[in-house]
């Protein structure tokens, strides 16, 4: 029997929680390509993803969902277009506690939209932290249209990650329904 594979991409700025997101839901230990941070300005954490994170969710014998987390540092953006090919949809992670990364998040979102016209959702991560911006404030800061789905998220919490992925899948279905009426 041939196994069908589908792909979703988790993207966002440096330290927005992409690796944690994939780790929370993947049934395998995430194949991560982390390296020690080399740039002084980016020493918020000790390691960062340099190629991609790779997680897997086996639906049944013939369907597997792969989750790819993109590298967060801009100097690895040559990987993005490759990772975006053939994806079902994508999630843009935003660190709700770091407004200095909001502009970068918007830029990444626009880049991925340009690569592929697939549905996407924006996850306002780290909502459990006291200084997190609210989803409503983040929407204004990122200048997102009301129709773009933006969800509160805690990437280390599996239920929260499930909610984000489900919302993305609902968006895919909704888009297919819309096509029926076009």
């Amino acid at each position: 029997m041939q196994i069908q594979t589908v792909k979703m991409v988790i993207t966002g700025p440096f330290n927005s929680g992409k690796t944690a997101f994939v780790q929370s839901i993947s049934e395998i230990d995430v194949v991560s390509t982390e390296r020690a941070i080399s740039t002084e300005a980016e020493r918020i954490k000790s390691q960062t993803t340099v190629a991609m994170d790779f997680g897997r969710i086996t639906v049944d014998d013939d369907l597997v969902l792969y989750l790819f987390g993109t590298p967060g540092q801009r100097r690895f953006d040559f990987m993005w277009e490759i990772l975006s090919q053939g994806m079902l949809g994508f999630v843009v992670m935003v660190d709700s506690t770091r407004p200095e990364t909001f502009r970068e998040a918007k830029s990444i979102l626009e880049t991925f939209r340009a690569y592929a016209p697939t549905p996407y959702v924006v996850a306002a991560n780290k909502q459990d932290l006291p200084d997190a911006w609210s989803v409503e404030d983040l929407r204004v800061a990122l200048r997102l249209d009301p129709e773009i789905k933006m969800l509160p998220c805690v990437a280390t919490d599996r239920e929260s990650v499930k909610a984000v992925l489900l919302e993305l899948l609902y968006s895919i279905l909704e888009e297919m329904e819309e096509e029926l009426y076009e």
């Binding site: 069908q4 589908v6 839901i25 969710i57 639906v59 049944d60 369907l63 969902l65 079902l88 502009r103 970068e104 918007k106 830029s107 626009e110 880049t111 939209r113 340009a114 016209p117 200048r143 249209d145 009301p146 129709e147 599996r158 239920e159 499930k162 992925l165 489900l166 899948l169 609902y170 895919i172 279905l173 888009e175 297919m176 096509e179």
Partner: protein, 266 residues
């Protein structure tokens, strides 16, 4: 001091000349034109760049003080007398004041530096202690603030390139503009761009129509986005699926939803 602007940018070069208070002439040659910028103690005193040769006639014409026809006449006169003598004559005859001349030259200096800052390539060489022709009028212009201003603009342009990575997308009016159209204080470029916002027009097409450079159109679109007026409208190039493929895809997404809903419930 010589090299290529690809390796040492105009802003870096100007900053070095200003900080080191250098005196001399910087000559730059590239396929699309050349520049000759003279400095005294780090200040710009003379600029000939592209079509603007830094002569009195050219500077006054560009400042709108005289017509092109008058400029040609004065340029012929200057060949005999030199710019300094010609300037004195114009002041004596009451055509222009000394302040007009100084103001026009400073304006020319700022415009020249702004233009030069945008050059991406070109061979340059700095000739120490070499100045412009003695007959030329020199007006000193401080570069420090100008360089800071240029650096800010360049940083903003870099940010805009990240925010609008592709010009092959259309624009659409935002659903929730933060400002009233009647209150808007837009510049000419921004108004023109607004006029051409249609689903079938990409940003690149609008730029071509309005004869704008990539940088110009990004600045205009960037301002309109900052004001909450427009959004990028990416073309929905959806994959063309057959009825059967659509059915399969819906079933597949349905299976994914069901599975993810049940994760952790077992």
């Amino acid at each position: 001091m010589k090299g290529n602007l690809r390796d040492f940018s105009p802003t870096q070069l100007l900053s070095l000349i200003s900080l080191a208070k250098k005196t001399g002439t910087l000559r730059v040659e590239r396929s699309k034109g050349e520049a000759k910028l003279s400095f005294k103690n780090g200040k710009l005193i003379y600029a000939a760049i592209g079509d603007a040769d830094g002569s009195l006639a050219s500077v006054l014409a560009r400042a709108g003080r005289i017509t092109e026809a008058q400029a040609s006449q004065l340029a012929r006169h200057a060949l005999r007398t030199g710019d300094k003598q010609l300037g004195l004559l114009l002041i004596q005859k009451g055509y222009v004041s000394q302040a007009d001349i100084i103001h026009s030259f400073k304006r020319h200096g700022v415009a020249s530096i702004n233009y030069f800052a945008g050059w991406k390539e070109g061979w340059f060489e700095f000739f120490p202690d070499q100045g412009p022709d003695d007959a030329r009028i020199t007006v000193p212009l401080d570069l420090e603030n100008l360089i800071i201003q240029i650096a800010r603009i360049q940083k903003r342009d870099e940010q805009l390139e990240e925010e609008i990575p592709s010009l092959d997308v259309a624009l659409k009016f935002s659903n929730r503009p933060n400002v009233k159209l009647s209150d808007l204080q837009l510049n000419r470029d921004e108004w023109q761009v607004l006029h051409y916002i249609k689903p079938e027009n990409t940003i690149r097409m609008i730029a071509r129509k309005l004869n704008m450079s990539d940088r110009q159109i990004r600045r205009a679109v960037g301002s309109l986005r900052e004001a909450g007026l427009v959004e990028l409208a990416h073309a929905r190039r959806r994959e063309k699926l057959t009825v059967e493929e659509k059915k399969q895809k819906r079933a597949l997404v349905g299976r994914l939803i069901e599975h993810i809903q049940n994760i952790g419930a077992e």
